[in-house]
Symmetry: C2
Subunit: 425 residues, 2 copies
């Protein structure tokens, strides 16, 4: 007991030290030039490539431990680094560097009748705490995006990727040094102790916002415990609705892509809704999905169309499969689709396929989601595909930032008012 208590005190003190250092670094970073931040990102990319031998050795340690602990093949694959993945991570940092700097932009400006000139100017958020799970490359992506927006970052990676993340973090620090920026701009929590997460979530004095990236249990823990606002990427229970006025060929093409292009991404369609008037299009769509290896779970009407369709359970309508499984249901027109989605959806990305403009506009206006799409694949739900650059997730909360969260979304603003001696009457 005594020892545990002491260890806990040490972790709390250690986390506070990280917080203090981050706060000080954030004050400097807020004033850093775009050129200095880009230089740091580019130098970190060079370091990643130069030090790939050491990174791979660190990753081998993590992989050995993970295999011993019996992680699933999917988790092992997420953890694994190779030369190609390291090169892609380095390229990602170069791309962040090449993007326009969001800080300092004048978002709006106007002059009052009394002559006061008011500007709304974009500023960094401050200090961002990022808590993530197995993929070690998130260390570089998240640290790089935070830095681009002039924020200091405290990164807490998964314990299974500890050595890999440490090696990658070393490269980010090399980049900061090369650019003359404070090394505390990107810090990695130096312990795998789970108590560190709890302590981190208490640091409202030093951390302005928490970004969790991972499974539902992590995000729910963070939302319950955090004393700071949370930008949460929850589930992507995305729907594609094929309207009665859909183009048959387009509907086939989009549904297959939305479900099967990659089944493990958050923008993958999980439920297909089909207008009862478009039931005649469904056999071909089911045939495409089944031929591509997708399991189809349908309502009673869908089951009648193809013997290979399994019965859908009530839980299926609320499930993000992240797998080659799709739930299929016939609905009564666009209003039936809207009602189903607003009840079962996770406010991520929702699509309608139709040639009926009025139905499309009704769907786009009435579906409550971060992204609503007309005649396109839900798999476009991605900061890069939106032209917004690298992102650390798609926020499914109602408050801004909503949708893809890139560097620009990790900023705030201040009002800068310039007068000539005005007093208020």
């Amino acid at each position: 007991m005594t020892t545990d208590f002491l260890v806990k005190l040490d972790i709390a003190a250690e986390m506070r030290k990280l917080g203090e250092a981050a706060r000080a670094a954030a004050a400097e970073l807020a004033l850093a030039s775009a050129a200095a931040k880009s230089k740091a990102l580019r130098a970190a990319a060079v370091a990643l490539n130069d030090q790939r031998g050491a990174i791979l050795a660190a990753n081998a340690r993590d992989m050995a431990a993970a295999e011993q602990r019996g992680l699933t093949p999917a988790l092992l694959d997420r953890l694994k680094l190779d030369e190609k993945r390291i090169a892609a991570t380095a390229k990602g940092l170069d791309e962040i560097a090449a993007f326009p700097d969001p800080v300092g932009a004048v978002l709006a400006e106007w002059t009052r009748p009394n002559g006061l000139k008011i500007q709304r100017v974009r500023v960094p958020l401050g200090v961002i705490g990022i808590i993530y799970e197995s993929r070690p490359n998130v260390t570089a992506d998240a640290g790089g995006i935070a830095l681009k927006a002039g924020n200091a970052a405290i990164l807490r990676g998964g314990s299974e990727s500890f050595h890999s993340s440490r090696a990658i973090h070393g490269c980010l620090v090399d980049g900061l040094k090369a650019a003359g920026l404070p090394v505390a701009a990107i810090q990695l929590v130096p312990t795998t102790d789970r108590a560190a997460v709890g302590e981190m979530l208490k640091l409202s004095e030093f951390i302005d916002i928490i970004v969790p990236r991972g499974g539902r249990s992590l995000i729910e823990r963070v939302q319950a415990e955090s004393r700071m606002p949370v930008i949460a990427h929850l589930e992507g229970n995305c729907h594609t609705y094929v309207d009665g006025a859909a183009d048959a060929e387009m509907a086939r093409r989009i549904v297959l892509n939305a479900k099967m292009r990659r089944t493990g991404v958050c923008g993958a369609t999980e439920t297909l809704l089909v207008d009862r008037r478009a039931a005649k299009l469904l056999p071909a769509i089911l045939q495409d999905l089944l031929a591509a290896g997708c399991e189809v779970r349908g309502d009673a009407a869908t089951q009648k169309l193809d013997a290979r369709v399994k019965p859908a359970t009530a839980a299926d309508w609320d499930t993000e499969f992240l797998d080659a499984i799709i739930a299929v249901k016939l609905v009564e027109g666009v209003d039936g689709a809207i009602a189903h989605i607003n009840r079962h959806g996770s406010h991520h990305t929702e699509a309608i396929i139709t040639e009926d403009q009025a139905a499309a506009e009704r769907f786009l206006a009435r579906v409550d989601a971060a992204i609503v799409l007309h005649n396109g694949s839900t798999q476009f739900a991605d900061g890069g595909e939106f032209g917004m650059g690298a992102e650390i997730g798609i926020s499914t909360g109602k408050l801004p930032p909503r949708g893809p969260v890139g560097a620009e979304q990790l900023t705030s603003y201040k009002y800068v008012v310039r007068g000539t001696g005005q007093t208020r009457p």
Copy 2:
């Protein structure tokens, strides 16, 4: 015990009912036309004037109870309504009606190389919970601003203003009815039981954001207990810094206005910082303040300048006096002022008086506050003065919305993507 438990269950159930009704109303309101919302606001204004007799009678009940409970004269004044105050409240609703509707505005739009057209479109936040204290007119202001932005509101006023708020709320409901909008668009918690606040703060399923308006203890309770994000208007410990290069006459005029125009507003200056190089300007500034009835609490150097200056305590630098009291300190130039403000300020509104452009820009960039001002009075910290219309407070948090929170700030956005059959490669 059993009775208490039952009562608590009833309050929880009652609050959930309010939440469900608000959620349903919000879905309708999000699609309401600008004209319908304006009509509701204008009809509510007419009702306020028409029903002023009933409102004054309800207020008399509140005032009698408050006097019996021995409320301070300041609190009694806040609670009191008269014909003039009711007319002003009605006029406020008309002004909100006249303002441009924020919902549906296209905040940004661009086309991707693959032809996808992306728009970021402003949408309402959803359901707003507003918890406030004694001023009954907040019922109309807060309800009106929420409605303007297409949000449903659940209002929880102070128990001392219960009958007044109910009478005012009745007028808002009359307005909603006149415009054919759902009456649950603006609901008032129908009990003074404090347990209702606790239950309200748990309703994350139905309420998207909580806005507390009141003293520090209310806001701290809400921040600690709320499961939803909170837009908090904390303290306004505002500073005016007189630089060595300040215009003497302008400095006198602005300091007097910033402190004494109204001492009870959040934008009132609480601490005056004076560049040691401008110490010669200080005697005249002190003379103005003292002549206007302001108590001056100074550091050692300031005390030497005028016998009427009292010694400042360490706590004074962190105090929002909201009274005719000012703390005064000499600092080492603009960097001394920035350091003091970033340590003691509350991130609300901070001003510099100087003719030195470089010093001004340094201050504006480095002071971390919602509003930074050059050569103007901190008393301009107000949504109306900013041309943003009515507001429900100045948010001192780092995340948006920051600064004055009007209808536009009570919105979010969604991404609307229009394609022609695109699939993701």
